[in-house]
């Protein structure tokens, strides 16, 4: 892992707060999102979905729909004749269009393309599906029992212990030392069980795409996604297309939070287009988004921690049972890795179980697996602090991981910022502010890995000396601004001389999806390296002009300079001057960089929150919220703060309101924003962001990712605040009024 990329420097542009380049388009309504484009001759698509949680599809009769005026194509699974040999891809296909069984309420079973939205939806009503309804299971603990209805047999890995349902597909284990020995050294051991509900990413823009696929196998797809290369590769794999024949362009994206790192409707739209011979636009309704796209996993967790009177944690274990939904593969292994990651422990063991149920396939949601991992751990630590009369920040500092700590999931940490966030919390006025009646203050820590991955960037120096930067990751929170800033910083040119665009899949090499908080780190690293590549070329051009060696040329302040008195006396050549004569010195100037970026820096946060509990209704009000997080280097502090605030707000929703509610019939009862209540403006206070900057050794400017860590601590921080306010430990999320009231009455 490269740890020597970072070099301290004085920044001119990085760390400032310029206006974002896509701002005007977004405040005037000009920005084009997934559903905002049309094509000549375009048809409207619509998808028929199963009303049953679990049912064998006996037959589908599409003849009446096909006979309707304006209907140009009707498809079912039978139209997907190409069989992907990869089992993961086969699952994706089955999730996009059900094969033998509908596995959850909302599972797609047929689709239509027609000349109007109305005709398309009328045609869905004309499709006759005969179902044989099967027994279902939507609860993770029920699904693990040996007699539970089995969603799909034969998917269990060998690492799953005997005696569990085949729905349990895998078990992962992490840790070191001997927790039992650790517990025997403790002055107090607390063991508790917790649950968290499935929550949805809740992006305001439903999934949408515009697909064109010809009989010649060439296609174009416009789509809102976090990764258009992933969309291309997946769709090509499902439809038997050559990836190079399918060009995918990412629209502006109206939120994703991990939920747009998968495909659902894109292969369906392409198949409809191929069958109809026309472009097809397919847009999900909100109901479809809730019922059929990935929520995060619900979870059931046991945590046991032993602590000495001085606050030292002597032993720790956790078992995470996470709901994968209708197909194998959830994120319990990530929970098992993240739960104790903030602490320096001698004795720690965790295990994670992935469990299939009759719910939509769980999708990534901002630091997937980490919030429900931190919640029970930080809750038990808080309770230990209460019972041993210890300060919760001081106790965390005492056990905090630092550079050189062997983490609970294996690796040894390089320089990290956890202690800096805890110390910042201790010295913040929030920590000592007075509390009123029925109010409580909670703190919690959180961890996320941050990722790197495949990244490809191209930087063109135009004939007038301006710079065009092409990157391949959808801009989900201001990354075009950050990339332009890093390119301008490295080149030494004014920011307004650089414009960054998101290129389509035919214009750059493979790029990993916008996930793992990787973009500012990995694409930033590639941007800096591409700029350095362009600088090398420009130094060569200046050297050629001056008749000296390229090694005798320096680059700074946007110009080539003779490296010293021995190099000769030449006035500097600016980027504009070098670009103007590029045609005579060897041709166009462009830098590029391709890398599987390693060296992502882990990040930590500490959150502090005050809540008030209404003893009559059980309602929880968030009064004050402060986020302390290590950004490594904040390239554009406004948007770093925005990530801190947004993650905290989503965590507040998860902790207090948000919940997938299934009925006895296995159907989702709240597939809309009225009944699935995300935080609104009047629910929240200002959220104060405090940025710490402990440089990541693996990035030239010290950048770590910032997007995900901010959702990790809130569940626990709020649970700790509510538990202290209510005088009773809350162990089930969301802490909705009925649950809080029941806990108050149960005292």
């Amino acid at each position: 892992m490269p740890k020597d990329e970072f070099q301290a420097r004085d920044f001119k542009i990085v760390g400032t707060r310029p206006l974002r380049p896509d701002g005007i388009d977004k405040v005037t309504g000009k920005a084009r999102y997934g559903a905002d484009v049309t094509a000549p001759g375009m048809l409207w698509g619509a998808v028929l979905r199963s009303p049953h949680a679990h049912a064998r599809i006996v037959s589908i009769d599409t003849s009446a729909a096909e006979a309707m005026k304006g209907v140009k194509a009707v498809i079912t699974r039978a139209d997907f004749t190409y069989q992907p040999d990869d089992p993961g891809l086969a699952d994706v296909l089955d999730n996009c269009m059900a094969g033998e069984k509908a596995r959850y309420d909302g599972h797609a079973v047929a689709a239509v393309a027609a000349t109007s939205k109305k005709i398309a939806h009328d045609a869905l009503d004309a499709i006759k599906v005969e179902y044989e309804v099967l027994a279902h299971v939507t609860d993770v603990d029920e699904a693990m029992k040996p007699d539970a209805p089995v969603i799909e047999a034969g998917r269990q890995q060998e690492n799953v212990p005997a005696g569990l349902s085949e729905n349990v597909t895998s078990r992962s284990k992490y840790g070191h030392g001997d927790p039992e020995a650790g517990f025997s050294q403790a002055d107090l051991v607390i063991e508790r069980s917790f649950t968290t509900a499935a929550t949805h990413q809740g992006y305001i823009e439903p999934h949408a795409c515009l697909a064109t696929l010809g009989a010649d196998g060439q296609g174009d797809l416009w789509v809102c996604t976090q990764g258009h290369y992933m969309v291309r590769n997946t769709c090509a794999g499902l439809l038997g297309l050559d990836a190079g024949m399918l060009r995918v362009t990412a629209s502006e994206i109206g939120g994703g939070f991990g939920g747009k790192t998968h495909v659902w409707i894109e292969p369906v739209a392409l198949m409809l287009s191929r069958k109809a011979g026309k472009p097809v636009k397919l847009v999900m309704s909100r109901d479809e988004v809730f019922r059929a796209t990935g929520p995060t996993a619900s979870s059931s967790i046991d945590v046991k921690i032993g602590m000495k009177k001085d606050g030292t944690i002597t032993g720790a274990t956790a078992t995470y049972r996470l709901q994968a939904g209708a197909y194998p593969g959830a994120i319990a292994f990530l929970s098992a890795m993240c739960g104790f990651a903030p602490y320096d422990l001698e004795n720690v063991r965790t295990e994670g179980f992935e469990v299939m149920t009759n719910r939509p396939k769980a999708a990534a949601y901002r630091a997937p697996g980490a919030p429900m991992a931190a919640y029970p751990v930080e809750s038990v630590i808080d309770e230990l602090c209460q019972k041993l009369d210890l300060d919760p920040l001081e106790t965390r500092l005492k056990n905090a991981a630092d550079e050189g700590t062997k983490s609970a999931y294996g690796p040894t940490y390089p320089a990290i910022g956890l202690k800096a966030t805890l110390k910042a919390a201790q010295s913040h006025p929030h920590w000592t502010a007075p509390l009123g009646e029925n109010q409580g203050r909670g703190v919690a820590c959180g961890f996320w890995f941050n990722f790197g991955g495949d990244t490809c960037v191209s930087l063109m120096v135009n004939p007038d000396g301006t710079v065009s930067l092409s990157e391949g990751n959808p801009d989900i929170g201001g990354s075009r601004a950050s990339m332009s800033m890093m390119a301008a910083e490295e080149l030494g040119v004014p920011l307004d001389q650089v414009r960054t665009i998101i290129a389509d899949t035919a214009s750059l090499g493979q790029n990993e999806v916008t996930d793992g908080s990787r973009v500012t780190f990995a694409v930033g690293l590639a941007t800096i390296k591409a700029a350095r590549h362009a600088i090398e070329i420009m130094k060569e051009r200046a050297a050629m002009t001056w008749g000296i060696d390229p090694e005798a040329v320096d680059w700074h302040d946007g110009a080539a300079h003779p490296a010293g008195p021995n190099a000769g006396k030449f006035p500097p050549m600016t980027i504009k001057e070098i670009a103007a004569i590029a045609s005579n010195t060897g041709g166009p100037i462009a830098g590029h960089h391709e890398v599987n970026a390693e060296g992502a820096g882990v990040s930590f946060a500490t959150h502090m929150v005050d809540t008030e509990v209404d003893p009559e209704t059980g309602a929880v009000k968030v009064l004050r919220y402060t986020v302390f997080q290590d950004a490594g280097k904040a390239v554009h502090p406004d948007y770093v703060e925005g990530q801190f605030q947004g993650g905290a707000a989503q965590g507040i929703g998860w902790a207090i309101n948000e919940e997938y509610i299934y009925g006895e019939d296995g159907r989702l009862q709240n597939p809309g924003f009225l009944d699935y209540r995300v935080p609104v403006a009047s629910d929240l206070p200002m959220i104060e962001p405090v940025i710490l900057e402990i440089p990541n050794p693996g990035h030239p400017y010290g950048v770590r990712g910032v997007g995900e860590t901010s959702i990790v601590p809130p569940l626990a921080a709020i649970a700790n605040a509510v538990s202290r306010a209510a005088g009773v430990r809350l162990t089930s999320l969301p802490m909705s009024p009925p649950r809080v009231l029941a806990a108050l009455k149960g005292q």
Binding site: V27, A35, G202, I204, S682, D683
Partner: protein
């Protein structure tokens, strides 16, 4: 089913369109008139991304039938700037970084403009309650509230 002929004033321009009786005003704005700045986030009046002003009143255009626009005045996000001159709210939203993905931004700007026309000096609580019908999933609302408050202060100073 025959289509309905509607004449309405949209962003100051007299506009004619034909619509199906079941189509919403949002459908017509987006699909027939290419005014795609108004977004459909839910189709049930819960998210506010399709907010418009109908005869001076803030409404969700997904809850208005297109035929109801006959003879009425419709203001959308596309009518907020005058040429290349942004409305102060639009400028402040960029300045305060009050948007991330931007999908909720048009609806919030339309709603906030309507608030400031009714109440040039709103408290933070009044802004929060007025915008409670506009969901934003990215920002936690902090910078949005600050941008609206700052715009209000500046517009009061200029008035």
């Amino acid at each position: 089913m025959s289509q309905i002929h509607v004449t309405a004033t949209i962003n100051g321009d007299e506009t004619e369109f034909l619509c199906d009786p079941t189509e919403t005003l949002l459908d017509v704005l987006r699909d027939h008139l290419d005014l795609t700045g108004s977004k459909e986030g839910c189709g049930s009046g819960d998210c506010g991304a399709c907010s418009i002003i109908l005869d001076g009143r803030l409404v969700c255009s997904c809850l208005v039938l297109a035929a109801e626009a006959e003879g009425r005045s419709v203001e959308t996000i596309e009518g907020m700037a005058e040429g290349d001159k942004l409305h102060p709210l639009q400028e402040k939203f960029i300045e305060h970084a009050a948007l991330q993905c931007g999908i909720c931004t048009p609806g919030i700007l339309v709603a906030a403009k309507n608030l400031l026309e009714r109440n040039p000096n709103p408290s933070e609580e009044e802004v929060r309650y007025w915008l409670a019908g506009n969901l934003c999933r990215c920002t936690g609302y902090d910078k949005i509230i600050r941008a609206v408050m700052d715009t209000a202060a500046e517009m009061r100073g200029a008035a």
